[in-house]
């Protein structure tokens, strides 16, 4: 389960969230039970109260209160980006994670889980008119939305033929299902029932499958706290108080009922499994792991990054030239429009532009695929920068060149086409190359509109392996190596068009096949 309502420009809040959580970094006080969660997540987990946005509510808020009571410590909520909840726990930002964290094998390597406090399953949602999807198997060939880094994502990516789009927030996914960009959405059932209230045109299909369990996470060394938590949870389950919380939030289900009445044997098996999964990797195993990630990064991430960057740059370079010419030579209204475009596009955040194109335009009936939206967003944004590069290049050509061309009877357009632009284009190669490299790296931002490219693959690998450093260096290296050929190409083009260094001219002319008599004969 992944709680993140990023209907708004979520990443913009990242810095703020980091700042806020930094406020909480301090040794965990004895009298407090500091628990981490992401209040940007959706209902019914942890979220700002609709009546009083400064108050945090949700079934996990209630649960934290009860746990605090049992442990005789005051429950204090600590905001943390959902992505980084485990990392925040390790850093000591809080004592436990209590935010729909699914019990998964890879997380066990980093933290200890309490006994599960809730069980649910992946719920398939489709539009009311869809009859052909009734199970996970029916999703073959369909485009399906999930939340990033959830068991549902991993499950569906394992299904051949299913196109999976991973979203940072559930609202985005259900939006896209409602507007037809997706064929189905698969999410934890509690998210689904709360979200469906906002989307009357959607319905549930399929039967409960693929159980997921939520448990509290604690640091490996906090074995005492783990024991206390497990005792407290067992007590709350036995007393029926936990069930009452779920009933209050309308999420009491048969899966959790089964979980709570489970026999001791299965619990013991779970604890036994927990033991075995805590082993640390040796250096050799780790290196082997990195090598096994290389193909994943190169095959899943790099081609998309290259595709997006080159297409977007082609758009930027073309549109930028049009804008520069409009700005410099167009009649007043056109020149003004070009100027306004340039100033607005480079004066507003690319991230917001991407959100507007991807999530905003469907309201106007324009529904771009993620790839098109990514190319359009990056290309339209960078066109503003390229236009200014061209303007600088054109204005750097001495006035006498235009005057000479005009005095030979050329029109302004002919003079531009044959005399001014060929000279300016060479001048703009270095700054345009610069921008291409920048765009190449900026392309990582399009993961916010569900594109899976190099940085996204990195994020997925890093978060599921809890290794941001090793895989990060690996990914950075791939970016660097992918960019090198373009830098070489630009350098070559620069020299190729360097008319002031061309010697010997006669040889060159013959090479170009223009066919001239050799000079000096």
């Amino acid at each position: 389960m992944r709680l993140n309502d990023s209907h708004k420009a979520r990443l913009l809040f990242l810095a703020l969230a980091a700042f806020l959580s930094a406020q909480y970094i301090s040794a965990s006080a004895g009298g407090e039970l500091r628990w981490g969660g992401d209040s940007e997540g959706g209902e019914p987990y942890v979220f700002p109260s609709p009546r009083n946005p400064r108050e945090i509510v949700g079934f996990e808020v209630d649960l934290a209160g009860l746990l605090g009571r049992e442990l005789d410590r005051r429950a204090v909520f600590v905001q943390n980006q959902w992505d980084g909840l485990v990392a925040g726990l390790e850093r000591g930002n809080y004592d436990i994670v209590l935010n729909g964290l699914e019990v998964t094998e890879d997380r066990r390597r980093r933290v200890n889980f309490s006994i599960p406090y809730y069980a649910t399953y992946n719920q398939i949602s489709v539009r009311a008119g869809t009859d052909s999807i009734n199970s996970i198997a029916d999703l073959k060939g369909r485009t399906v939305g999930v939340l990033q880094n959830t068991p549902a994502q991993r499950l569906l990516e394992g299904e051949p033929g299913t196109k999976v789009r991973a979203y940072p927030g559930q609202i985005n996914a259900y939006d896209d299902l409602a507007n037809g960009r997706l064929d189905a959405v698969v999410m934890d059932w509690p998210i689904a029932i709360y979200c469906h209230k906002h989307y009357p045109g959607l319905k549930f299909v399929g039967r409960p499958s693929d159980l997921v369990q939520y448990a509290a996470a604690v640091r490996k060394e906090d074995t005492q706290l783990l024991g206390q938590l497990n005792d407290a949870l067992r007590k709350l389950i036995a007393s029926g108080e936990l069930r009452r919380i779920y009933e209050k939030w309308g999420i009491w289900n048969s899966e959790t009922e089964k979980l709570f009445s489970g026999d001791g044997a299965s619990q013991a098996a779970l604890e036994d499994y927990q033991e075995s999964a805590t082993r640390r990797l040796t250096l050799r195993e780790r290196l082997g792991q990195y090598i096994s990630y290389l193909p994943v990064l190169l095959v899943q991430g790099a081609p998309m990054t290259l595709t997006i960057s080159t297409l977007a740059m082609a758009l930027a370079v073309g549109l930028g030239l049009v804008l520069a010419l409009m700005n410099l030579y167009g009649p007043r209204p056109l020149a003004w429009m070009a100027r306004a475009y340039i100033e607005v596009m480079r004066g507003t955040p690319l991230l917001i532009q991407l959100y507007l194109i991807f999530y905003g335009l469907p309201n106007a009936g324009i529904r771009l695929s993620p790839l098109l939206a990514a190319v359009a967003g990056l290309g339209l944004n960078y066109a503003a920068y390229e236009a200014e590069n061209y303007r600088a290049g054109i204005q750097a050509i001495p006035r006498g060149q235009m005057e000479a061309a005009l005095s030979l009877g050329m029109t302004r357009a002919q003079a531009l086409r044959h005399i001014i632009l060929p000279q300016s284009l060479r001048l703009v190669i270095p700054p345009v190359t610069n921008d291409f490299i920048a765009l190449f790296k900026d392309s990582s931002i399009v993961s916010v509109i569900t594109m899976v490219e190099l940085t996204k693959v990195y994020g997925q690998l890093a978060s599921s392996n809890y290794d941001y450093i090793g895989i990060g260096i690996l990914t950075a290296g791939i970016y660097f190596l992918l960019g090198l050929p373009f830098i070489k190409l630009a350098r070559w083009a620069e020299n190729h068009f360097a008319f002031d260094k061309r010697v010997p001219a006669p040889a060159r002319r013959r090479w170009l096949g223009v066919g001239a008599k050799p000079a000096m004969d």
């Binding site: 006498g400 005095s407 050329m410 060929p422 000279q423 068009f497 002031d500 001239a516």
Partner: protein, 251 residues
């Protein structure tokens, strides 16, 4: 074909400061006119008005069948098309040569006829070679401007202008940017063109050239034509005291 040029009551000012005051000038076919005067007297501006690189405020320029006429405050309107046809009649040579650095010499010369007149490349190249031979650059046709000396560049620029078969050639201080040893090779070309009967108007500080080659000398001072005479009379007995002063400072 006559290249009768007449300029009537030409006025121009930059930001309120008058540069040309009521200039009148008649040029007959095949004449070589030299315009001289102290710097800032408006001689370059006059030349630039004659091929439309500068717009005048009021007055009239007739060149063959083309007439440019403006009155105080009139709009630029359909001027552009008439400026272009004016420029086809007039070739211009600049102080700083203004060859196109990204093109070889022969490309510099053939570009405009191919682009503007739609001349096919072969014909253009043949004609270009003839002209480049004429200006003594037949062995440099594949050189880039940066590989040529100043004098060679200016001769190339003259060939480039001649390529459009103008009826009039305008020269704006064609030798001022040249090393003194290279000045003559350019002036030599202009003398040769005069013998061929081309109408030429030259702004220059080369007094020897003015005296030897000019049919008439125009002396401009503060935007006014104050002397219009044959070289003999101009250099020996100028009427205007300003012209007299100018000549004395040069001799």
């Amino acid at each position: 074909m006559s290249a009768h040029i007449s300029i009537e009551n030409l006025c121009k000012s930059f930001n309120g400061a008058p540069v040309l005051r009521n200039v009148n000038l008649e040029v007959k076919a095949s004449e070589l006119i030299v315009i001289i005067g102290p710097s800032g007297c408006g001689k370059s501006t006059l030349l630039r008005c004659m091929n439309g690189l500068e717009l005048f405020d009021s007055g009239k320029i007739c060149m063959g069948s083309i007439t440019l006429e403006r009155h105080e405050g009139s709009k630029t309107g359909d001027l552009n098309s008439r400026l272009r046809s004016l420029r086809e009649e007039v070739g211009m040579v600049f102080q700083s040569f203004n060859l196109f650095p990204h093109l070889t010499l022969i490309q510099n010369v053939t570009k405009a006829p191919v682009v503007v007149k739609g001349m096919d490349r072969k014909t253009a190249e043949e004609k270009a070679k003839e002209l480049l031979d004429k200006v003594g650059l037949g062995d440099r046709i594949d050189y880039y401007p940066s590989q040529l000396s100043g004098g060679q560049q200016q001769r190339g620029a003259i060939a480039r202008a001649l390529m459009m078969s103008p009826r009039v050639m305008l020269y704006d201080e064609p030798t001022s940017a040249l090393d003194p040893s290279l000045v003559n090779e350019v002036l030599q070309i202009m003398r040769k063109l005069d013998e061929d009967g081309l109408t030429q108007i030259v702004v220059t500080h080369e007094m020897r050239f003015a005296r030897d080659a000019a049919d008439r000398i125009i002396f401009l001072s503060e935007g006014e034509v104050v002397e219009d005479a044959g070289p003999e009379r101009f250099f020996t007995s100028p009427k205007d005291p300003r012209a007299r002063e100018f000549i004395r400072s040069y001799l």
